[in-house]
């Protein structure tokens, strides 16, 4: 069965068709939830909620072309709802107080670039959790899901100018967090700048 047929069948209540849709999209949805939430437990819950929302809302859904866009939006919203509930339970102040999972960073550059890169990855993941929800959402959709600005605008229901400035602000904020934690000092990019720019991102 083709993807659009699966969507139509699932919209008509076909659970097997929906199970196939889940199998097709679960990896993207789970990884998006993981980068939004920052831990596997919350990611599991957010991804489950997103798929359940999709199942409930499918009868009103039309058009396969936008199914993944719709699913990303449900996932992103589910992750944000979950994060807000969790934060309320923990108390608002805790976000500033705790270490947010950033491991103690050795400010002396390691001789092994591999180790440095791995350390930076950990710090970036932790830094993501300190961004505002709207900034993290835009940056994750771009950097992790590889969506274009146009696609992100469709997922978030905002215009492209807003996507552009949110992503830029998010990167600027992330850079500041990493600088404050000493993660960017002495870091050398692993590849020449030009190749990244010409490649147009991902």
């Amino acid at each position: 069965m083709m993807a659009d047929e699966l969507v139509r069948a699932a919209a008509g209540g076909d659970e097997d068709a929906f199970a196939q849709l889940v199998a097709l999209h679960e990896k993207k949805v789970y990884n998006l939830a993981l980068r939004m939430c920052g831990n596997p437990e919350d990611a599991w819950d957010a991804a489950q909620e997103a798929f359940l929302s999709a199942w409930r809302g499918l009868p009103s859904f039309r058009g396969e072309a936008g199914f993944s866009t719709w699913l990303y939006r449900l996932t992103s919203n589910a992750a944000i709802d979950l994060l807000r509930r969790t934060r309320r339970q923990r108390g608002e102040a805790s976000l500033d107080d705790e270490n947010l999972g950033i491991d103690a960073v050795d400010r002396t550059p390691s001789p092994q670039e591999q180790a440095e890169a791995s350390e930076l990855r950990g710090a970036v993941t932790a830094g993501l959790s300190r961004l505002t929800d709207s900034h993290r959402q835009a940056l994750v959709l771009r950097e992790v899901q590889g969506l274009s600005y146009e696609e992100i605008a469709a997922v978030l229901e905002v215009d492209m100018g807003t996507v552009k400035s949110r992503i830029s602000r998010a990167r600027g904020a992330l850079r500041k967090i990493l600088q404050e934690n000493g993660n960017l000092s002495g870091y050398l990019p692993s590849k020449p700048a030009e190749t990244v720019g010409k490649g147009g991102g991902r």
């Binding site: 489950q48 449900l74 608002e92 229901e157 215009d159 807003t162 552009k164 830029s168 990167r171 720019g197």
Partner: protein, 275 residues
């Protein structure tokens, strides 16, 4: 020469392959002579590399648990397709015209310049769909093509997640992105200042209807939420926030949608003054 903060937005767009050729050339020329922007570029490349991680596999048992829950969950009944009411089109057009007339009046009083008001009228026309025409998907934002009548804002019809509450989480403080009021951009002239209490004033727009530069002063709930959500900064009364052109336009749209009071004064750059 633009301030480096504007090039930061370009650097980010360049990394994503979303910068046009002309802007790209200008950015390259600027980076060739600006150490600060070169460093910023290198740092963003580092962050980009670090974010580039392989997808992790979905934990075992995810699908079976989900499908067990699906079997216990009823689907919602399909929502009927509600045509966009004609009166809404005309209400939107009428509101636009009223704003344009207000702008014309204000502007004639202020400078006797009719061009901006004419531009404002022209910029409003696309908002009124022809009678009986379908509203494009891009406008109603709904793949399902239905418009919930109870919602004042057109939103995804089958997006059944509840409206998001105002964010309460702690925000990242980023002093570098704003400056103290002492360094405020040039304020409007005396004549403009006298217009302050007479409501929003329409200023010059270019051929594309883009906003002129200036300072927007606001202090309502929508403005506060916008600063927290879009800039990721805390709201501080009296603080001046530097914006990009897109952010300025976005803020203006948010305040207009929320029907919140604000004032605009012409000047260099794009700014928000928190009242």
């Amino acid at each position: 020469m633009k301030p480096c903060e504007e090039y930061e937005v370009w650097i980010s767009a360049f990394l994503d392959g979303e910068l046009s050729g002309e802007d790209r050339s200008e950015l390259m020329q600027h980076m060739a002579v600006c150490q600060t922007c070169q460093r910023y570029f290198d740092d963003l490349v580092a962050v980009h590399d670090a974010l580039e991680q392989e997808e992790v596999p979905v934990p075992e048992g995810f699908g079976p648990q989900l499908m067990a829950r699906v079997r216990e969950t009823e689907q919602e009944k399909p929502r009927k397709r509600i045509p966009f009411p004609h009166w809404r089109q005309w209400t939107a057009l009428a509101a636009c015209c009223a704003l344009a007339v207000l702008g014309l009046w204000s502007f004639r009083n202020a400078q006797g310049n009719q061009k901006a008001a004419q531009d404002a009228v022209a910029a409003c026309v696309p908002y009124a769909a022809p009678d009986g025409a379908d509203i494009p998907e891009a406008l109603n934002g709904s793949e399902a093509g239905t418009v919930p009548e109870e919602s004042p804002k057109l939103r995804m019809a089958n997006d059944d997640t509840p409206p998001q509450p105002e964010p309460q989480e702690a925000k990242l403080e980023d002093e570098a992105l704003s400056i103290a009021p002492a360094a405020a951009p040039p304020a409007g002239d005396a004549e403009m200042c006298m217009e302050r209490d007479n409501g929003p004033t329409v200023y010059e727009s270019d051929e594309t209807g883009a906003l002129s530069q200036g300072t927007l002063s606001a202090g309502g709930e929508a403005a506060r939420r916008w600063v927290e959500d879009e800039l990721g900064l805390d709201w501080e009364s009296g603080r001046l926030y530097q914006l990009t052109k897109e952010e300025y336009a976005g803020l203006l749209a948010a305040l207009t949608e929320a029907e919140e009071d604000f004032r605009q004064e012409p000047g260099e750059g794009f700014w928000l003054l928190a009242e």
